[in-house]
């Protein structure tokens, strides 16, 4: 299942499956640039001068620092009890929840968990999606047909309901389970995109040359094909990261997340279950959602900025 973010950026759409061949000339320029070394400095120049990249990555760094150092500077931890339902104050920066837990402490700990799940999910999806995409695109033939069929089937299995059915039987679920589950259900659009890109590169002269020189297929894919779509793969991973965090929030909100530990999603879940809306405890559910929106929006902005960096056609004129 694709993330909310997938299927909608230029990089993705220009490389997603069948449409590519039909929209003439929307091949990623990074693909047509085998000279990687000379370009690196140029990319860095444009990245530093791109306001979107600087703003997006800067904001993301702030959130990452908050995830790393937040639990250390938080005066309280998540298990301590205080006066319940207090609004934000100097003592409790974001107030306390229905039970008297400190919301700030939960928030910064939840931040860690969200990043962890997002990273795990993105990693798994990227590994599976790229492996299958490269194999299908490079090998072609029957193997390609089978893998494409598998991809198309996977796209149509509703992952949230699947998790509900699994969750009904698996009573204890950890962070790793959630991350791996997200990874194993979001890979199909990566596989589609990577396959399409590999397909266009496969018949290039430099790949033919590599094949003639007797190199093994894995080495050709890793050394000759992958580097020519490195920027594209990089953008894919960023998008996967963001969508994995959003998906995790939805799962956690439904009580399907990790059964141990607090994430941004479980905070919103608890707030809903214990009538935070009716009791007007806005400091309980507004911060986790706001922070998550910021984390994902920063990634998206950086992503579109990087797209412009790697891709001269998109640069502001």
């Amino acid at each position: 299942m694709s993330g909310t973010l997938s299927g909608s950026t230029a990089a993705e759409s220009s490389g997603s499956g069948e449409p590519v061949a039909q929209v003439a000339g929307t091949v990623m320029p990074s693909v047509s640039a085998p000279v990687v070394v000379r370009r690196r400095g140029e990319f860095l120049y444009y990245a530093v001068h791109n306001r979107k990249v600087v703003f997006g990555l800067g904001l993301e760094v702030v959130f990452v620092l908050a995830a790393i150092f937040g639990p250390l500077i938080s005066p309280w931890n998540t298990t301590e009890y205080f006066l319940p339902r207090q609004p934000p104050s100097g003592v409790h920066w974001l107030g306390t929840d229905y039970f008297g837990h400190d919301v700030f402490a939960q928030l910064v700990n939840g931040l860690r968990l969200s990043y962890l799940v997002g990273a795990l999910g993105a990693l798994c999806a990227a590994l599976v999606g790229m492996a299958l995409g490269f194999i299908a695109g490079y090998r072609g033939g029957l193997l390609d047909e089978v893998l494409q069929l598998l991809t198309n089937i996977m796209v149509m299995i509703p992952s949230l309901v699947l998790l509900v059915v699994i969750g009904a039987y698996l009573k204890t679920r950890g962070v790793v389970f959630e991350g791996v589950f997200i990874g194993l259900t979001t890979w199909p659009w990566v596989a589609r995109a990577v396959r399409a890109q590999t397909f266009t590169l496969r018949s290039r002269e430099f790949v033919d040359l590599a094949r003639l020189s007797g190199k093994r297929a894995t080495s050709i894919v890793v050394r000759d094909i992958a580097p020519n779509m490195a920027s594209y793969l990089f953008l894919v991973v960023i998008l996967l990261f963001g969508s994995a965090m959003l998906l995790a929030a939805s799962y956690d909100f439904l009580g399907l997340g990790p059964t141990n530990g607090i994430s941004l999603g479980t905070m919103m879940n608890q707030a809903m279950l214990w009538s935070a809306l009716q009791l007007h405890l806005w400091w309980w559910f507004v911060p986790p959602g706001l922070v998550l929106t910021g984390m994902v929006a920063a990634l998206l902005i950086a992503n579109v900025g990087l797209d412009e960096v790697f891709n001269p056609k998109l640069r502001e004129q």
Partner: protein
Amino acid sequence: MTGRRSVDAAQGVHVRRYLTRKVITYILAFFVGATIDWGIPHLMPGNPVQLYLSKFQLQPGGYAALYKTMSEAFGTNLPLWDQYWHFWYGLVHGDLGVSIYDFPGRVTTLIFNAIPYTLALLVPAIVLSYVLGNRLGAAAARRKSLDNTVLPAGYIFQAIPYPWLALLLPFLFGEVWHVFPISGAYDETLLPAFSWTFISSLLYHWFLPFLTVFIVSLGGWAIGMRNLVIYELENDSSRYLRALGAKERVIRRYAYRSASLPQLSGLALALGVVIGGNIVTEIAFHYPGLGLLIYNAIEDEDYFLLQGIFIFIVVGVLLANFIIDLVYITVDPRTRLSMQGASS
């Protein structure tokens, strides 16, 4: 003319192959979905009967007796292959079993009662966000003033987690400003009837959950379309049109058309996420669609109901994909040409 006809015939064969392949994919996807649906309870540690009996404090003797009768009643004592066969038999005959949550009620009845509400949220949200998002995005491409407002708003909408908006909107519009109801599908003092009061109550309750699903989807389409149109406007075909002296409006119209194709296949990919968001939204708003049914089924550990809903959502996604396929054929002139070839 004979040469032309043979080309058309070749294209017809091509399209028929394309459609056959699609249908095979759908059938296989349904098969895989149904097998997963059946397989999970059987692959998990413990079996449904054990799980059900563990809720009661039973004497060992009573447990053994109950376990035996219930295993026979539910057929869990049969070999796996037989159970699998029985599952398909029931599925083909539209029998998904009896619900535990709404006890004598049949799973299919519960699901059919919930489906209209889910569709009422999902279909307008998907269609309107897709149409409006694409228009906005296309208008924003390479237009500085509009781009500077549409783009940041798009990023933020796209990054909003569904559960957050499903809490924030009812909090603001319901609890703080008291302008919209935040729970249920209609006023509980009303009885369902084809009257203006009832319909207005339905619409009144429908608006906020619809808005939640709509807003999150809108941003993605706008940004996607904006980027695609920029690609298209920089294309050689657009340059050629410009060199011929075509008006900018005409060039944009062609760019929009080309960009619609990847967006349309993106719609098929995004369905799963929107359905997930819809489930989250229904639960937050206590909107009586499939999402709320899933929630109640989880609460009451009603596995038959869960499995039934899973099958229905798989079928729904398959149907939606098929509709998108058909739309794709009508939108893409190349496939339409070959369709005509097939019919002549």
